[in-house]
């Protein structure tokens, strides 16, 4: 019984630990898989999502940064968390669209390294602008009232309510995106566009819009991750960069472009990490996830669910 409880706790903790990875990785993966665009600014979109979430949710006092120096004491419009959960994805979707249109598009034909350079540059710019304006200090991001505090679950016992919410939101969004990509003509067009853009257009299909949408969706997922992940830890300008490496790791372990792969990989990493911690090997938990990643990639170089041919 206790063993069962332990296992279930590990799984549930692993789920929630992996959920943020999954949200970020799915967005990154569809952008990388379908548009062949290496987006090092994905973490910055997460960052934007988190700060936008703060801005929409409440009033954040300012004590540092340029805005404070100019005498502005607080920022925020105080619409509450639910509003943030709805508005942030929309806004970040639009940011994603602008990014596709004005940045990514001109880099589709250029080498990965150029894409990395420009998106990494953008990420640094976003991060440093936020820091310059709002200060570098961490801000607490309050959990939504309706989801704060622990909830009592059978067998497991107490579990933070909001973390269940994170799992649920992630599941719904990921299933939705999966259905869109796998079961609709939209998905087919995007897949075909990945393979041979010009030929798709020669068939009379306009691709610019599907690309915009894919980029927008990928971005919006990162934005949502920022809003739902913000209350798990505090928000500061560095959280975006910190998420980048685990997110890429998840994408590649799962197989580039494979949504279900990203999910499996995210959950595996999350669960392993939690399992190492809860069984007393905490010191090895970081080494552990990288070791797992290495082993998976050595056994299946294309990732868990990746296809045999080189994608990117």
């Amino acid at each position: 019984m206790t063993v069962l409880a332990d296992i279930l706790t590990i799984l549930l903790n692993g789920l929630q630990q992996g959920a943020i990875y999954v949200l970020l990785a799915v967005g990154l993966s569809i952008i990388l898989g379908t548009l062949k665009f290496v987006n090092f600014a994905h973490g910055a979109l997460y960052l934007i999502g988190a700060y936008l979430g703060l801005f929409i949710t409440g009033q954040v006092p300012l004590s540092n940064g340029q805005l404070a120096d100019w005498g502005i004491e607080a920022y925020g419009i105080g619409l509450g968390f639910t509003a943030a959960l709805v508005l942030v994805p929309i806004i970040v979707f639009i940011i994603g669209i602008l990014m596709e249109r004005f940045v990514a598009r001109s880099f589709y034909d250029r080498p990965d390294t150029d894409q990395i350079l420009v998106t990494f540059g953008l990420a640094v710019i976003v991060q440093e602008l936020l820091r310059a304006l709002l200060g570098g200090s961490s801000q607490p991001f309050p959990q939504p009232g309706w989801a704060s505090g622990p909830i009592s679950l059978p067998i497991i016992g107490n579990f933070p309510r909001w973390r269940l919410g994170v799992i649920a939101i992630t599941a719904v969004l990921v299933i939705g995106v999966y259905a869109l990509v796998e079961y609709t003509d939209f998905g087919l067009i995007v897949q075909a566009g990945t393979l041979d853009e010009e030929m798709v257009r020669l068939l009379g299909i306009r691709l610019s819009r599907p690309y915009l949408v894919v980029f927008g969706i990928g971005a919006a997922l990162a934005g949502v991750a920022g809003v739902v992940g913000g209350p798990l830890a505090n928000v500061n300008p560095n959280i975006g960069t910190e998420q980048l490496v685990p997110a890429f790791l998840t994408v590649v372990i799962g197989g580039v472009g494979k949504i279900e792969g990203a999910v499996v990989a995210g959950l595996m990493l999350g669960t392993l990490q939690v399992a190492l911690i809860q069984t007393g090997y905490a010191a090895w938990s970081q080494v552990g996830i990288y070791a797992l990643a290495a082993v998976i990639l050595l056994v299946r170089p294309q990732g868990l669910l990746g296809s045999e041919v080189d994608v990117a």
Partner: protein
């Protein structure tokens, strides 16, 4: 009546002037052949017409059905009713045969083209007809196109163009890689859709094969038209054939 009218176009790859002051016209219902050696500019001409860049067209006009399409993007030109069997097949390798065909499905494309001027008919060849012409594709519906044999991919490329709603079908070396008896089948298909009213622009290296079904011929050399006229005339013009076609 002239369906396609190419007027003195110049096309460039970067700085190299590939299409030089080229004019041609294709009449409604006709089978027109575009002939010439390797590198004469045949494929480039088709690319200009279909709106694919490069080459970029720096001067001249291309009119289709009276509409100036010179500067239109390829997807709009396709929707107007021009379909292309490209050089090198260009099938979507990771998609199945059925999915490849589905992408050319005009009804679905219509949905995707909302907001554009859509006066085209939904009269592409039906999938059942296509599978009848190419039983091999029928067998391989769920196979990924990239794993098809060379000839099978060529069949798929042709099938895909036939499935599009089309007034003008442009074929770039459609017989390449096909076994003799399939070549016959393709010839038959071309004749049949031509009889049904579709206009054909056929690019070929092999003048003999092309002249068999063409009404009119153009011969290109270094991006310029060096001969135009009825197929019989070219048949008779030994000098042109020696000089520009090597047959």
């Amino acid at each position: 009546m002239t369906l396609l009218d190419v007027e003195a176009i110049d096309g460039y790859y970067g700085e190299s002037h590939i299409i030089q002051d080229l004019s041609l016209s294709v009449d409604d219902g006709e089978i027109t052949a575009l002939l010439g050696r390797n590198g004469a500019g045949k494929t480039s001409t088709l690319r200009c017409i279909s709106g694919a860049t490069p080459p970029d067209v720096r001067s001249g006009r291309i009119r289709f059905d009276g509409v100036d399409i010179t500067d239109e993007p390829p997807e709009d030109i396709a929707v107007r009713g021009i379909s292309l069997v490209p050089e090198e097949r260009r099938v979507f390798s990771d998609l199945t045969v059925a999915e490849n065909l589905h992408l050319a499905d005009t009804v679905r494309n219509k949905a995707n083209t909302l907001g554009r001027d859509l006066d085209f008919r939904d009269d592409g060849m039906s999938t059942s007809d296509i599978y009848e012409y190419f039983p091999r594709l029928d067998e391989r519906r769920t196979q990924k196109a990239g794993t098809l044999s060379g000839g099978e991919q060529q069949m798929l490329a042709i099938a895909r163009a036939l499935h599009q709603s089309t007034d003008l079908l442009m074929l770039d070396e459609p017989y390449e890689g096909l076994a003799p008896q399939i070549i016959e089948a393709v010839e038959n298909a071309i004749r049949r859709i031509s009889e049904a009213g579709t206009t054909i622009l056929l690019v070929e290296q092999n003048a003999v094969a092309a002249m068999k079904i063409a009404d009119r011929c153009y011969v290109l050399d270094r991006g310029q038209v060096v001969f135009e006229g009825p197929a019989e005339e070219l048949q008779a013009d030994q000098e042109t054939r020696d000089k520009y076609l090597g047959v």
